[in-house]
Symmetry: C2
């Protein structure tokens, strides 16, 4: 751990989607505090009931602030649901569940965006007020929309994910607006910083969480040119996804459901890969150092321990190339 | 009661503001059901946190639906406040309390208005869904804003009423937009209907609730020309207002604080006046039939009984002029 200790003042940039990635981001934030920058997928963002909703940003924010609901896996703990019950009585749309406390995030963000603040500025202020030391940034302040071509036609992400519960067969995924969306200047600066310690691709759905981030104009290139090692963590354990439609989508899109197949999607960027011990036999073909770890992050200790191993493996890559 | 019974199929139009007026509207609605049309002040409406809020419409709607909070006197019963607590943590504006269930009304109304529905259409649908038999209409679908010139300058209504708790001294009250606001066609039709049974001016603040309604272009004239008797109910009992700033404002505006002084403000419209037994000695000078009643509506029985007396007094006027 001495290499890591020597490097502990240097920044780590993590790319992350919702719940799976947020768990590792929490582990990293407990080790790194303000030295962590989390770049979060906003391809799932949508307008609902006139409110600007950023599901992955909120999941990361609630998780880092200790406000997340550990049972449900989304939204806030100690939540109440009076709004939804009253909305149902008025004939409003109830397919997307909004808790009463969660609503404050959406209402206040919508108000500030309408007043001209950027999504990154609103996010930074929310995180500061919630006592989050890490820097949390949307992948872009420009709108990007993940859309899916399915056997039920083209669908917006939330329509597919929440309303239709991932039932349609996915044939193609696009990130509308990504080609003209700009990454935040601070993200580009962090990636270009020679003191950058590591780039960590969190264990999130490649199609829905990581690739929208990499599709933002210039971001993939900035990561490829970063002086620091780039390490990804597999969201697949033993040919299954921990949560969500990752495995189903991989299969529908003709991608082998395996930790190795996920790594292959960003192979050009990767200097190292962390996968589950269950998959330790895999991935020799990737031709990069592979670390086997316990990747199912059930407890806070698991999250910190995985974060520690991810950083150690990245630091070992730095040492090896130094 | 035979006159009233004979007339029970004919419509009553009530003008009303917030809580005081809503109590009588509830009494009337229990006697009249679908034969009651309630025309509600919208001069207090405002945009807050990006939401379109109509406090008097909501008070009337919640009261008629049995959803009102009888203790607090505003908002909904069985309310939760998770939103406000979360909003405070995010640095949002918390001077105007919005309950979680109440929020559904504002969010859904704002969404439907943005989609092009009129305030009256949204209100009608909400009332239908909440099982309200009476027809509830905003005084206009066009925006009217009650503003107050005070010793603290010109103030928007909610700034004066909620944020400053009615502390500034009121020098003048205006209804911006009223001169160009149009009444709803159904209100004009009801007032012009020869079968109209009565117009009831509920016991609401004259400056803040009734006069904004009467200021809507053509509405005062339509009431004056109605074939039915016009009866007002005093919001003043023994030189005091039951609730709110009515007495303080009357005094600041140089108006005597009395039931008679309220009646004098609409004297040209009135065919009869109902005041409290405590003020029974007053109002002979008005030159119209005056009915003394128990006007403090503490219980549901009180509300129904006052409504019965108001209707009986109006019906007596009809009989007298018939």
């Amino acid at each position: 751990m001495s290499a890591a200790d020597n490097l502990c003042k240097r920044r780590v940039v993590a790319l992350c989607g919702g719940i799976g990635g947020a768990k590792l981001a929490l582990g990293l934030s407990r080790l790194l505090g303000g030295d962590l920058m989390v770049v979060v997928n906003t391809g799932d963002d949508f307008d609902h009931l006139g409110l600007a909703i950023s599901p992955d940003l909120d999941t990361v924010m609630y998780t880092l602030a200790g406000l997340d609901d550990p049972q449900r896996g989304w939204g806030r703990r100690d939540e109440t649901w009076t709004f939804m019950a009253a909305l149902a009585a008025l004939g409003g749309e109830t397919w997307f569940a909004l808790g009463d406390g969660d609503l404050a995030t959406h209402v206040e963000r919508t108000r500030r965006r309408a007043a001209g603040e950027t999504l990154s500025a609103v996010t930074a202020d929310f995180c500061r007020r919630l006592g989050i030391a890490a820097r949390v940034l949307p992948m872009s302040d420009d709108g990007v929309r993940t859309r899916l071509r399915t056997d039920a036609g083209w669908l917006d992400f939330q329509d597919y994910f929440v309303r239709r519960r991932c039932a349609p067969r996915v044939l193609e995924v696009t990130y509308d607006g990504a080609a003209s969306a700009r990454p935040h200047a601070d993200v580009l600066a962090a990636l270009a910083d020679p003191r950058l310690r590591a780039v960590v691709i969190c264990p999130s759905n490649p199609f829905l969480s990581i690739e929208p981030i990499l599709a933002v104009a210039g971001l993939r290139e900035a990561i490829a040119h970063a002086a620091a090692p780039v390490t990804a963590v597999s969201p697949i354990i033993g040919a299954r996804a921990v949560k969500g439609p990752t495995a189903k989508m991989m299969s529908e899109l003709g991608v082998e459901v395996s930790a190795t197949a996920v790594a292959r999607r960003y192979r050009d960027l990767l200097d190292g890969y962390v996968l589950d011990r269950a998959d330790a036999g895999e991935a020799a073909e990737l031709g990069i150092p592979v670390t086997a770890a316990h990747t199912l992050m059930a407890s806070l200790t698991d999250r910190e321990e995985l974060a520690r191993q991810v950083l150690a493996s990245a630091d070992a890559l730095t040492k090896a190339t130094a």
